[in-house]
Symmetry: D2
Subunit: 432 residues, 4 copies
């Protein structure tokens, strides 16, 4: 072994990229850390497996994939390009591998309920007292900080940053393909090999040779379809609604000194807003599922009911619902739910999903996003939506979907509160 290279290349068999190639000892050692191995116990797509049963893959899976895409770019495509600083190579690879390191179980719900941010935890793991930090430090005392900066998008070399996070980065290219593969949907396919081949490092970004425009269009359309067909699937969101409500309920019970049969030890510091990195790293989806399974037998009827729903996939039903124009109906429903003896705080939930498929540059605006630039044959740069009709058509247009979730089974159980329930069903247009 010389220069930090393994004596023999290691490979992982990967269904999306065929093989993941590792030649650097640093990468190999990072993969072996317990913080990285922990990603095996966190699903890439949270509750999506309850809608698409194939989507049981972990973030470990995806993280290797992002690494492999970046490795191909820096080793095959950018190699030897004048504007590309070869010393940044390892930095790119580490940032790619570790970009999702801070994700916890069912991140989306946990972040919402407990006001966490997985990006903060990624930073904390890279810079904290962890195996990952020790491994990174072997490459130089300031190396962990640089990796953290790349992931935080504050690193000075924006070419490096944009490989990891931009509107056409390795992260997105991997997850679109990978999530399509595991769910089995037909969307999510695009010609990544072509996109990689037309990427060019240039000044403070990575641009796309204009001959590859159609492949980029296809990628953006794939992203659009994956968002609406998979990521925002209403059944997945139903499971997420229930999950969120379980967390809310458990927290409130804890605050109200409810006596749990199975105490939420792992959750204490989170419930009390005193979560440490050490505690956070002990959380994974096995732990969450363990509690949810146990809590099916709690005395509290709401907690046990919600846990049973989640474990056994008895999800909430939904109707289209626009909270902006139907506020009165929602208030009416809330009142009726109370009358019907069903707590609307847990059983009547508006959920909204929203996506902006591509955006051109709007300096100063919230969520400012760097646009994709095409490099024309004469060398000029041109923003993608000015060149592509298709992208122009969806550029900057936010699309939002609102649903109202509720337990239809409870409403159709007329053994009690028949009148209120009937009225609710009428309001939801579900009576027959």
């Amino acid at each position: 072994m010389e220069n930090g290279k393994l004596s023999e290349e290691k490979v992982f068999k990967d269904p999306v990229h065929r093989y993941i190639h590792v030649r650097d000892k640093l990468i190999w050692d990072l993969i072996g850390t317990k913080e990285f191995q922990r990603l095996r116990r966190i699903r890439q797509l949270g509750t999506t497996y309850l809608t698409f049963h194939g989507a049981e893959h972990s973030r470990f899976n995806h993280s290797l994939g992002v690494y492999e895409i970046v490795r191909r770019i820096v080793d095959d495509i950018f190699k030897g390009r004048p504007q590309w600083d070869d010393e940044e190579r390892l930095l790119c690879l580490c940032a790619a591998l570790l970009h999702d390191l801070g994700h916890g179980p069912f991140s989306h719900s946990f972040e919402k309920v407990f006001h966490l941010d997985h990006e903060d935890f990624t930073q904390a793991i890279i810079l904290g007292n962890t195996e990952v930090h020790s491994v990174l430090k072997e490459n130089g005392a300031d190396f962990p900080k640089k990796v953290a900066e790349v992931i935080a998008k504050t690193y000075e070399n924006k070419q490096v940053v944009s490989l990891i996070s931009s509107q056409i980065d390795a992260d997105r290219m991997d997850y679109l393909q990978r999530d399509a593969y595991y769910t089995g949907v037909s969307y999510g396919h695009f010609d990544m090999e072509r996109i990689l081949r037309v990427m060019r490092p240039r000044e403070d970004q990575v641009v796309i040779k204009s001959s590859g425009m159609h492949a980029v269009e296809d990628y953006i359309m794939s992203r659009y379809q994956m968002y609406w067909q998979v990521y925002f699937h209403p059944v997945t969101r139903s499971a997420e609604v229930i999950l969120t409500k379980i967390l809310h309920r458990a927290k409130r019970l804890h605050q109200e000194f409810y006596s749990f049969k199975h105490s939420p030890i792992h959750f204490y510091s989170m419930f009390e807003d005193e979560l440490t990195l050490e505690d956070y790293l002990k959380l994974d989806e096995s732990v969450i599922m363990f509690y949810f399974q146990a809590w099916q037998d709690e005395e509290d009827p709401i907690l046990s009911d919600l846990c049973r729903r989640f474990m056994n996939r008895k999800l909430f039903k939904y109707v289209e619902f626009n909270p902006n124009v139907q506020m009165m109906t929602l208030m009416e429903l809330t009142t009726l739910f109370k009358k019907a003896g069903i707590d609307p705080d847990y059983y009547l939930v508006v959920d909204s999903s929203s996506d902006l498929p591509y955006d051109f540059y709007r300096p100063g605006e919230e969520e400012e996003r760097l646009p994709i630039h095409l490099q024309m044959s004469n060398g000029d740069l041109r923003e993608l939506s000015r060149q592509s009709e298709i992208v122009d058509a969806i550029s900057g247009k936010r699309r939002t979907d609102h649903k109202l979730y509720f337990p239809l089974d409870l409403l159709e159980d007329f053994s009690t509160k028949r009148t209120a329930k009937k009225k609710i069903l009428e309001l939801l247009n579900l009576s027959n």
Copy 2:
């Protein structure tokens, strides 16, 4: 809805079979039971995900797949065939869906350590006080028993039995393809559509039209490769060895009244050979992982070390080792391990894997297997290995692989017991 049919067909998106089609209310209801949903929390391939990171799929996944294959056979291929009794259709479908219902977490290891048999649990779930049983009973009081018999291979109509379990059954056809898909290996592909099209119900079995012989050869070769390339992969077995030793250690500690920081409540009845169905159904891989994670912090150095190895994938290394001819070496190693202060009961393990890829009929022998019969164009039946040179070449030949597993990291740590460790490495041909 009439005749037990859903008002509208339901589909599941499946990456292997594209879609799983459900038209029968009975099937839909079975899928919704908590015992069936539990299969989502049990991986199809146990510890294989530590070798092939893509193999994170559950038995839920596979069970739907087996159902779909049988559905196609009975609905598309056998439909209207004179010898095929249409009333058995639903029985086939249920048996296909439920055939793995009794699997527990990491079945292979648990069955070995605790002398369990997942098939007994499958029977118990189908016949016991469960949601599955209630749903099945709606189709007739003796229907659960019939389904159980099909799975137990004792049902009188052997055509039904052989669709679910024979040397070319829906179970194998699904798992070969599915496991290949999720691991990403190139093996496991064969022309299932062709095999289905040449299947014919005949007397007490399902036979294959001789024109499909090559597709069957290909299937048998796929199976052979999957066994040796995936299922018996030495790294997977290393993880399984550790898992098995964790269970052994925890049981012994329990028997020795060790005071656990985190008591193995879920394991009590198993440790004491008093496992009930109710307790069994509470076990899933989240629960196991929860304990293993917690036990990393136990005082007992062996239990905590083994759990850390499993959770963080610090597996045992291995060498080829034939216990039949190297018994003396094994004894010597055992002595040396003790001298080196490494308990050979947990850290020196011979593991043997063995497979018989295809067998012709050997009446009276242990593991008697029904052969695959080809139906020649004149109607005669001919046993596959008499017609296919390839199959003949591997027919009846058991292949066994022995490995010796040990923790190389401990042996290479020369801070203590240097002499003994050096000698061990020499014996293992690992000194340099």
Copy 3:
């Protein structure tokens, strides 16, 4: 065999649909006719194989594919639907199989040069003195006429017509997937199985259940990408330009009583606008290639040069060129070409490709196209572009691409007419 069914189903192995299933004797017999077998000698994508070397597949291939898609719709999806008349089934299958029967070699070019219409020939073959006609007649004296009407879109049952030709018909669904498969491009994938499952016959059309909208969007985007990435590829059009000019040249030489070394016997009646069906059926791409190969040795320098270019893929180069605003440049170039001794009639060609990816209904307009209708959950119909943002964005927008083609090699050969050639290169922005 009973009721026109084959005693045993026949299958064709097909790379796109896995298998093509034939159960009807009529279909089997049609495939065996010499007019249908002739489609094996006509490429599906004309000159595209000179750009995408994989695209060597024939119209035979595609015709079977369209048949198979329609077969699945009528046998699996529409079967038993109240609004679907089972008697039309065979009519659909025949029309699907035969819809491209009248295509000649390199249709696009031939139709343009000789003012032919392959649809007229399809009608003529079905209704004329052919094997196809004889086979169809066995199903009833007026059956050939009905099949012809379906293909001509004049058949009264518009449900039947729209399966074969509409904005989302079996023809398009097959060719997008098939052409993507053979070229190897990543576009052209969409979830056909889902689209088929949401198709519903309704009044005078086939509509799509609204739950399948995203699959339809994906199909329309696939179509868009295939048009611009494959069908209108500028290199393919270069070959087509040359092919067209060969035909023009040969016709003119024939009219001018040029003495061919290799007389264009097969072309006589076409050159003289007296093409008969019998002559037409003798034309296939082998015949054309045979002449082009022979004509490489003709005395006429233009004919031999163009044929050599086509046979040996020495194609014309191209630049972007807008004939609407650059008319003066074109005139100047024409003059300069003459000065340079290069005949602009054959060597300076503007080619324009244009596509309208989807259109809503514009009654009375030329090229009126029936829109795709979604069937909402309440039964209402809604035109696709009103429901889908993506489709709305491209709906009704014609996109056109203009290129100017010319032989760069001749222009760069400065052995003669150096000045004129230099000036041409300057005008084309190709001097350096």
Copy 4:
């Protein structure tokens, strides 16, 4: 452009290898020669498209694929290996690209009838007065000779030779995958990427690291299945039998001074055993198909009948037939055919196909083949069949299939010679 490199890499979209990458000007120029472009007009699998309609791909296609595989080996796998002479790289690439250059139309049949050898023509094209020769010479006066030697297997560096032709060479690896892709069969898949990664140049061969043994087993089984399922398919052979008989008939008619309506000008020199390279290069499948189409109208009933059969796919039927033990039956059939007025020289044909899937080394024997060697972890070489049970089982075992072909339609036409025909059908076990 420097050092013979193109200023920008060129790519071809390829459905099997995704992209074919060309960086060397020499390779680009070779692809542009008319001799190489001619391979577009010669199908890779001869008459197979009449059995598997997808198999319409050309040798051009395959030749690019072999080149790409070798390119990956020399550029990615062998690069920098001490035993690998970098100067041989271009030689490998050229030999890979050109190895099939001498193939003519329907090679198998033409070689048999006219005693040609495509390998002689490959040599002749490389060394003769051709565009290919001119391009090769630019790389050195003796370069064409070296390329020819590699293809002839006489080149001194056997590592180079064995990449192009050995029992596991780039040629086979491409055609198995490519032919599987275009036919659509499930066979032909193996993990090429893994095989490439374990190839090692060593002394006078390329060996395989033993860890890749299973991938090689899988490759050999794929080869076995492709031979029997695709290449030797009896329907394909039926078309080949007819093709062969057409050539025989035309030659005999020519020798007998038959007056053709359509003279076989392109065949003259071949019929008279005076074929020149120039004439040979004018032959392609368009030319053959042109004649066969024209000859459908010849007066000679045998020639016109056979041509009609070929063009319209009215093939001969077949029965199993062992010429070694059924010689008497064959003689009897011959007599009966004559009685029935059907010329047995053209209408009663025994065809035998035979394959040896893998062979170990048998020095001195005819068809001596170099075995595949595994490189064990200790560096020893071991012949594959000694290590692999599966390969051992089929190693050195020649399998042969005999069929008897005849025109069933003529035999079933009882309008004349009823008695003889009935007797023939009885002998063939086809009477009912």
